[in-house]
């Protein structure tokens, strides 16, 4: 990185840090979470090479902070659904804490990929990929044509492979 890109960034940080933090504090229950997400916002800015000629930095930064917050809530809701699912398992097959953590990470990875897909596409994808159901059985279950199932699957695969980072 050259000096010229560091300069504007440190300025950006100084000019915008406090209002982003305050903005997040209003949206989140916890000040710690707000501080974390404020940091994450600037990390994202660094990663993305903020355009130098940006006219409205506030709008740009708010968008990043907002996206991070949505992501934060989605992760929390996933963790909660996961805990509920795990607590329903018979004790004998409850995974160990290490296995639980690994599984949670895998679920988060997949969840992030699937998040913007429409519900019926996501459901089709899960029936096919987790249950191993055949397309024609999924079509019968969801009362759609097999062609529609294939279209949904193509959409989901395209999304996952494009999104995979």
């Amino acid at each position: 990185m050259t000096i010229s890109t560091i300069e504007p960034f440190s300025q950006t940080y100084e000019n915008h840090h406090s209002w982003i933090y305050n903005w997040l504090c209003k949206k989140l229950a916890s000040r710690d979470d707000a501080a974390d997400l404020t940091q994450d916002t600037f990390v994202k800015v660094l990663q993305r090479d903020m355009p130098e000629d940006i006219i409205e930095p506030r709008a740009y930064l708010t968008k990043i902070a907002h996206d991070l917050m949505v992501n934060f809530y989605r992760r929390k809701s996933l963790e909660q659904a996961y805990i509920e699912a795990i607590s329903q398992l018979p004790e004998a097959i409850t995974p160990s804490s290490e296995e639980r953590l690994l599984l949670l990470e895998t679920l988060q990875e997949i969840d992030e990929m699937l998040t913007t897909l429409p519900d019926h596409v996501r459901e089709t994808f899960l029936l096919s990929q987790l249950d191993g159901m055949r397309y024609k059985d999924i079509a019968a279950k969801l009362n759609v044509t097999e062609r529609t199932v294939k279209r949904y699957m193509a959409l989901a695969f395209t999304h996952c492979l494009t999104f995979a980072v």
Binding site: A29, Y73, K76, S77, L78, E79, Q80, A81, Y82, I83, E84, A85, I86, S87, L89, S96, S97, E98, R100, L101, L102, L103, T106, L107, E109, I110, D111, L114, T115, D119, R122, E123, L126, S128, Q129, L130, D131, G132, R134, Y135, K150, M153, A154, F157, T158, C160, L161, T162, A164, V165
Partner: protein, 321 residues
């Protein structure tokens, strides 16, 4: 850099998705399989897209179906007040804070192809070569028009190269240097500060990173260790160098502590073996897919005691009489 960060053009994604939907819908005819292989071979971006798809499949396979549907199929929108109510529960039940996590170098985290502890995985590459990953390993594939490059970041791999129609060289890169396969079968292991090479068939040329002029050809039945500046004189191939490919650890009067150091790689957790075991030896061929079972067998057949402190923590000492 991970090839996951490579941008795959939209039309390539479209094509690979078409194949995926087809593969999952019916079994491919042998004609179609040939067409698919030819497509993968046609362009390294095709192969990259295919590997990325296989990776996605591997990830999905790790999820237990019922649990996955319940968690991933949950309602996408969630009321925030509802969320706040459950926050307390979340904090008491998830033991994340107490787990020490093994940090891997970032390349290994981002790598295309990975195995977990105790997992092994075999991959058929587009050129027909065979790549096998041993436990806790990570590689990236960088195939292009001029070379077939495998980057080993962590763990151990076995490679059996196939003749390439485009005659591209087959290379393996480790932290300490590069290996040029000379039509061959070999294993490579990444250690903390050196690399290990064992040649099973034909020969492999070793080029240390900082001094590639000091290259050395290692022949069939030989093994060596090298760092970025030099290569050790080759020695005869260790019995265990390629036993893992067949899923076993082979021991011929092996000191117990050495045996345990092999076993550890396949098992999550801690095993310690104290000094009282110094005169205990092990012989036999042991299936590595069940390390717990091996420990039980050892306890029955050798004069040792295993103290289980937790499910993951075993302490071995000599039986006192």
């Amino acid at each position: 850099m991970s090839s996951n960060s490579v941008n795959i053009p939209e039309h390539v994604i479209k094509e690979v998705v078409m194949w995926l939907v087809k593969v999952q819908d019916d079994d491919l005819t042998s004609q179609e399989q040939q067409t698919l292989l030819a497509w993968r071979n046609e362009n390294h971006l095709h192969e990259l897209a295919w590997q990325r798809a296989e990776n996605l499949g591997m990830t999905l396979q790790k999820i237990p179906p019922d649990l996955g549907k319940q968690v991933l199929g949950r309602s996408a929108t969630m009321d925030r007040r509802e969320f706040a109510k459950h926050l307390g529960l979340l904090l008491t039940l998830v033991p994340i804070g107490g787990i020490t996590y093994k940090y891997a170098p970032w390349q290994a985290v981002l790598a295309d192809i990975k195995t977990a502890t105790g997992e092994q995985r075999t991959i058929q590459l587009a050129d027909g070569s065979q790549l096998m990953l041993n436990t806790d390993s990570a590689v990236d594939l960088a195939f292009n028009d001029t070379q077939r490059l495998v980057k080993l970041y962590r763990g151990e791999i076995y490679i059996k190269t196939a003749k390439d129609s485009a005659q591209r060289p087959f290379l393996v890169q480790t932290a300490q240097g590069q290996l040029h396969a000379l039509g061959t079968e070999f294993v490579v292991r990444q250690h903390a500060d050196y690399s290990y090479l064992g040649v099973i068939d034909s020969a492999v040329d070793v080029l240390p990173k900082d001094d590639p002029q000091q290259n050395l050809i290692i022949e069939k039945g030989q093994q060596t260790r090298f760092d970025s500046t030099g290569i050790e004189a080759p020695s005869p191939l260790d019995d265990n160098a390629n036993a893992w490919i067949h899923g076993v650890i082979y021991a011929d009067n092996m000191p117990l502590s050495e045996f345990i150091s092999y076993l550890k790689r396949y098992r999550t957790g801690v095993i310690t073996c104290d000094e009282s075991c110094d005169d205990i030896y092990v012989s036999g061929s042991f299936q590595i897919n069940d390390p717990e079972h091996i420990l039980h067998v050892l306890e029955k057949t050798r004069p040792i005691e295993i103290e289980w402190r937790t499910r993951f923590w075993a302490k071995i000492s000599k039986k006192q009489h």
